[in-house]
Amino acid sequence: MSIIKTPNGYNLDSSGRRVVVDPVTRIEGHMRCEVNVDDNNIIRNAVSSGTMWRGLEVILKGRDPRDAWAFVERICGVCTGCHALTSVRAVEDALGIKIPPNAHLIREIMAKTLQVHDHVVHFYHLHALDWVNPVNALKADPKATSQLQQMVSPAHPMSSPGYFRDIQTRIRKFVESGQLGPFKNGYWDNPAYKLPPEADLMAVAHYLEALDLQKDFVKVHTVFGGKNPHPNYLVGGVPCAINMDGDMSAGAPLNMERLNFVKARIDEMVAFCYNVLIPDVLAIASFYKNWLYGGGLGAYSVMDYGAYPKVNYDKSTDQLPGGVILNGNWNEVFPVDPRDPEQVQEFVAHSWYSYPDEKLGLHPWDGVTEPNFKLGPNFKGTKTNIQAVDEAAKYSWIKAPRWRGHAVEVGPLSRYTLAYVQGVDYVKNQVDTSVAAFNQLAGTELGAKSILQSTIGRTLARALEAQYCADMMVDDWTELMSNIKNGDTTTANMEKWDPNTWPKEAKGVGTVAAPRGALGHWIKIKDGRIENYQCVVPTTWNGSPRDPAGNIGAFEASLMNTPMERPDEPVEILRSLHSFDPCLACSTHVMSEDGQELVRVKVR
């Protein structure tokens, strides 16, 4: 069997045993992964396939642009709000609407709350079970666990031996009940799990603590947006008006009590990141010091649009600056322009869509999304019972976005690589401190580059980003209070609320640092209605199938050359895929109106 060399430097060998994981669980949405392992159980070919689509962009055509945020918000309920924010930004960009500073700060606090919430829930509830073995926690000595806790995080109050004994008892009874619930059929005797029982017990305790606390974090959204998941947004600003004093303040969306409530939640997020999340990630990582696989395109070929401006509409003040790094050259950062038709383009040669010319990519403003569910000549199974896809042909509901034709990774690790090499002090300090802490715990002498370019690096960057966002929120809140103190209580700009004030035609783009990476929405408005709406989302970049040139995307690249302990138990595959925090409902929501003409099944 021949080996295929990809332009981005991988040798794909599909001659070995094929292993299929479907469904890939602990992600948002539905995805499938197939790999070929060689005789030494090392992954030599990786195929990632998005297995759902929903068609939101078509549904948006002809609707009121001011309504779009709610539709696209429902692309994803995990990264809830980030599509809504991207949407209102795209519409405001198209119509030339500038939002007031207070609205900007409130949106920033909401976006950063999402970052902290999403990153915490991802680490503990979606990703932890790739590193942590809850059954092994039963063997732990609660006293030694308490010592470990106090060593890795002296400031965390929940650290007594009795506390860990209670948690252990609860887990034991749960296991002994014979009903293992979500832990059923886990891979608990797989040697891929490396933690000592005490670290397992500590992590299980924090799994439960995080589950209790995350519901409080999101209350920031409830104050500003009325609910979570899916808080409300508004084109032109925010709907939560401010009334600090006098008549009817108590019934107003925002008053002193509401803002104090928000501050209390921000403080909880800061404390959790410092005392629990970062120490946990570093402690767990140090036990996996010999498992630095999964780098792929991470910290190597990366992209982000840039986010969190200190001064709104001034990209030069981005606290996480954007750019592109290619092929591990940290000495050169290319600027990114989402409006440039030559930069961001989507390809469909291996996706279940068709283009007039599938060798070419299309910029989102000119995007075409016509479904074409077709399996290649070498797929195994039947059309409705796929045993193995044929990756030489079309094999995914995800398109393949590329930056000037290059496959790039997006996400917290990409943002952190860009911020680190562009000299953002906060990030440099965080990364250098973490690298030193890792080396100290693990007894290693690794540099930032070798730690970051791994599955562990991806997971670490996410935790560091949560911490940065929590700290930035404190600044945002302080600035908001300062504005109000200075007499500015404006929260919305209604100059162009009325569609009669709009130009006949307009187009705009909105970008957001979504928890999973660079998110962009492109909109065209005509006669007051949406003419075209395209979203290019993080998991589309990371989970993309191959492009016409043969480049593999970030998911596939991250799995390459990883050894598996037991190919039938996909712990290592899940570990690296989960480090991206895949969101399949985000990546595969596109669809054309032609869908209506497909075979219809009769419904009673």
């Binding site: 309920g77 979500p182 059923k184 209350k219 959204h221 409830t222 409705t384 209506q596």
Partner: protein, 357 residues
């Protein structure tokens, strides 16, 4: 050996006293009187943890995210102590074959005795292959799991009505659960998403009373869906007084006046947002300044802009239930709202008179 809920709690070192307190809190959360406390306690003492298969079709996972926000009971207590969440691909440890095997095992071991919770819905276009689980259409997994279940909970507006992917032109032919499963009791818990504590209350009610809650004609639990947001909205007095927000961030918006003129769908939306509120009672959309978008109503995506004023609110007293409104709505042609608003305007005029005098 399957443990009862009470045994699980006791074995975790929870005292009898705390247990009774818990039952009393549960009774309160469900809006039940103190006479129900012993009943709940008895139920908890004698029942094993009921298996749940929680399947995901075309959706956005907001229902799962909402569920884990529950404060009373806490999501961890539901998962560890009340039910046995044997399959839920969002949080389960196993993947691929090992995950699929759990569905089969549950069907075999608990045939007729497990609850099927569905988040999202099956698309029927493309031979169902626009939502693939284990290489096959999600519809296959759904119908297979439904065949042997005791009852179905349709979480959220996707499973109940179709929701956003079923909005016109519904490109994937996303289809709600009750249109593909016909022979099982189905509880619809609509909302995008439903309120966390409503979700856990529905589960707790079923466990406690061993029966479905009373449902309206649409299949929603009456205890949470029999009143409109408008009926219990804290801004209702401003509606009645004819005091409305006219533009975002205007003086009226800052005073918390009624959002009806900004397109609020509270008058036609049946849900518990204005009573139970969101995220442990923290707030709800209207309190935070945006009108209700009606996310728990069938087809709300295609009922006009969020900002278009309602013109057909049938006027009923708060005691009217969904069935009554639904039955009468067809016969009402817009005039009721006009009358309702007219009444408010009169009140406003009167109030103005008061102020001037």
């Amino acid at each position: 050996m399957t443990e009862t809920f009470y045994e699980v709690m006791r074995r975790q070192g929870i005292t009898r006293r705390s247990f009774i307190k818990y039952c009393s809190l549960t009774a309160t959360a469900l809006g039940l009187g103190p006479t129900f406390i012993p009943k709940i306690a008895h139920a908890m003492e004698t029942k094993p943890r009921i298996p749940i298969l929680w399947l995901h079709g075309l959706e956005c996972t907001c229902c799962s995210e909402s569920f884990i926000r529950s404060a009373h009971p806490l999501a961890k207590d539901v998962i560890l102590s009340m039910v046995s969440l044997d399959y839920d691909d969002t949080i389960m440890a196993a993947a691929g074959h090992q995950a699929e095997a759990i569905v089969e095992e549950t069907i075999e071991k608990y045939s007729g005795n497990y609850i099927l919770a569905v988040e999202g819905n099956p698309p029927l276009n493309q031979d169902g292959m626009s939502c693939i689980i284990g290489g096959k259409p999600f519809l296959d997994q759904l119908t297979h799991a439904a065949e042997h279940c005791k009852a179905i909970i349709s979480w959220g507006s996707c499973a109940s009505y179709g929701c956003v992917q079923a909005a016109a032109p519904n490109p994937t032919q996303a289809t709600p659960v009750h249109k593909v499963i016909h022979n099982k009791p189905i509880i619809k818990v609509p909302g995008c998403p439903p309120i966390a504590e409503v979700m856990t209350a529905v589960v707790t009610y079923i466990l406690t009373f061993e029966r479905m809650p009373e449902l309206d004609r649409q299949g929603r639990p009456k205890m949470f869906y029999s009143q409109r947001i408008h009926d219990k909205c804290y801004r209702r007095p401003h509606f009645d007084a004819g005091q409305f927000v006219e533009s975002w961030d205007d003086d009226a918006a800052r005073k918390g006046y009624c959002l009806y003129k900004m397109g609020c769908k509270g008058p036609t939306t049946y849900n518990a947002c204005s009573t139970i509120r969101w995220n442990e009672g923290t707030s709800f959309p209207i309190q935070a300044g945006h009108g209700c978008i009606g996310c728990s109503e069938d087809g709300f995506w295609d009922k006009g802009s969020w900002y278009a004023r309602l013109t057909d609110i049938p006027q009923f007293g708060v005691e009217a239930n969904a069935d009554k409104v639904g039955a009468t709505a067809a016969a009402v042609v817009g005039t009721a709202t006009v009358a309702h608003i007219a009444a408010s305007a009169v009140k406003r005029a009167m109030q103005k008179g008061d102020q001037e005098s």
